[in-house]
Symmetry: C2
Subunit: 359 residues, 2 copies
């Protein structure tokens, strides 16, 4: 069994490298040839406004002979920033670190194949979803992008979206002027598009062909009325967009037909006091005309079961409403293949994880 | 992080050792102080009548500071035996082995603490559930037990039930005469009760105070009409008992309020062709008067929210309708404490599983 670090994976797998395997996984999911096991979050109070959060999701991708588990074991808190509520993980594991793991298994022998942290691959799977949606939904000639956010998902989205559309100009906004300038400094010379700083979300959006939201905000980043006809919008969390954006979007494509993760709150705490739980009701995606589970998914989009954008003047939207364990099987299969080829990582005996009896 | 084998755990944790921590976990679950994340099974066809089965469940037990994942990655098949259908796992992992793993995490630091196979501990958690139920439901003076099954769960149940009632006689039946004789040979001198071979399920049950079903059968082992007033019955799978048994039982206590595991079948296979899926509909536990989710659970029983047996002449029943991830957190906390104390197992650096970034 192979143990890999984020640094190992970064060496062998550039951001944007997994678009094809991800699209294949979505196609398989849409045709019943792959499975995704829902995300469950358990919140258990540790201190005031601090919770242990245990999170699992899984996927089985037989065409790549891979099953994957993704598990997070974290201490989390929430804080106010820029008038909204943000969630943060606390580095309480040894050496001020975090625990998020992906484990891969063979669908042929059942054997565990690899274990690695979820940090770096998270860039590939989240930005991968946004880019695949944009490939099918944005106008072919889209060239101006608004990028809301300046964290590492923002950089992953910048690189990955550049692979599916010929971007000439990207306007970057995030509420902290220092971080957006740092982002411009870091990326201006590393990307073919011209990077421009925007002073507000509204300024970034004005005239953009694509609006890409990549923040950890749990409140809407701009009023949907600002969107111009013909734009394609996407988010990494439903709450980044407002009801008006969802109402105006056609098509509105979701990631998967579950409104949100299943959430279990213990320890005598009012679930509504937890922002992650409270934000979900009423769900920002709720539309009177179409219940969430009737909305088309990215799987149906890439499968041709949904036509995608049919009019240049439409506002199209991809809402990444919930993460899919299957994405980790897809990206994981690529991680494993490249790690074996490049001989990176640490091998430990698979033997340690097998048993000669079964329950 | 500690890596343990079944043999390591067997050395430090005798069968029957976890009754108290399991009962504590059920109490916590009943009062909202612990969480169990549902079991999901994915079935993906590999060959005719052969499937890759990927199975997960989890539990969080803050009072023991432990979260646990249990994961099975197996190739399974079904076959006919003794007029019924049985399920079997195929030893397709290296060295003709199987893959079933338990992973433990700290709810304080999030760190992974241990990983070990699920085989041996399975005896402790399943027999533990049956014994805790018997402690609260069987007549105090119960002394004769019918044991249906002669596999390793049967031996675990024999030992563990002996801890909660003063058993004088145990009548053992399983359809294969050779295996039941082997069972008697092995256990007759290792248990204080007199072990007797029965020629049929009916013979075993006649006059018994406790009827313990511990088979991998997916059809009923005997007609419920055979049960005498005052008996306590339990099963490790709902389908071991028939509708008549469930109708006659009062109280009828279930393990948890989910009818069965969530099941996802992919690969273009008719789900009803899979015995594990088909067996569930109509669910054998279905009672016209009481929907499954209104039945009391073992958590409510040990919590005092349900009075348990109130009449000597009642037939009481504990139906282990679905396994709980929480059981692995409970048993796992005991495994970890004893392994640390006895210094067994293999240590690998926890460091390998931590990350300095988070998604």
């Amino acid at each position: 069994m192979l143990i890999l670090s984020n640094e190992d994976i970064e060496k062998i797998l550039p951001v944007g490298a997994c678009l094809e395997v991800l699209e294949e996984a979505y196609r398989d999911l849409g045709s019943g040839m792959a499975a995704t096991v829902p995300r469950y979050d358990v919140f258990s109070p540790t201190k005031p406004n601090e919770f242990y959060e245990y999170k699992t999701m899984s996927g089985v991708l037989p065409n790549r002979k891979i099953a994957a588990l993704r598990l997070n074991s974290s201490v989390v808190t929430w804080y106010e920033k820029a008038g909204g509520v943000r969630k943060d993980k606390l580095p309480v594991a040894g050496g001020d670190r975090y625990v998020g793991l992906v484990m891969l298994f063979s669908t042929e022998t059942g054997e565990p194949l690899a274990i690695f942290p979820d940090g770096y691959v998270q860039k590939l799977r989240v930005a991968g979803a946004s880019a695949i949606a944009a490939r099918h939904l944005a106008r072919k000639n889209a060239s101006v992008m608004a990028l809301l956010g300046s964290g590492w998902q923002a950089s992953a989205h910048l690189i990955t979206l550049s692979l599916v559309r010929d971007l000439k100009k990207v306007r970057v906004f995030s509420p902290n002027a220092d971080s957006r300038r740092r982002f411009l400094d870091e990326w201006s010379n590393n990307i073919s598009a011209e990077l421009v700083e925007a002073g507000s979300a509204a300024e970034a959006i004005e005239g953009a062909d694509i609006v890409t939201c990549t923040t950890n905000s749990i409140s809407a980043l701009f009023p949907g009325e600002l969107l111009n006809p013909g734009v394609h919008v996407s988010c990494v969390k439903p709450c980044e967009l407002d009801a008006s954006t969802y109402q105006r979007s056609d098509p509105l494509i979701i990631h998967w037909k579950e409104a949100k993760p299943f959430q279990i709150v213990i320890g005598g705490v009012d679930p509504q006091s937890i922002p992650d739980v409270a934000e979900g009701w009423p769900h920002p995606l709720t539309r009177e005309d179409t219940p969430l589970w009737d909305l088309p998914t990215i799987s149906q989009l890439v499968n041709g079961q949904h036509p995608g954008r049919t009019k240049d003047e439409a506002i199209s939207c991809f809402c990444n409403n919930v993460g899919l364990g299957l994405q980790f099987a897809a990206v994981g299969s690529e991680v494993l293949a490249r790690a074996r080829e490049a001989r990176v990582g640490r091998e430990i005996p698979t033997d340690w994880f097998l048993e000669s009896v079964h329950p």
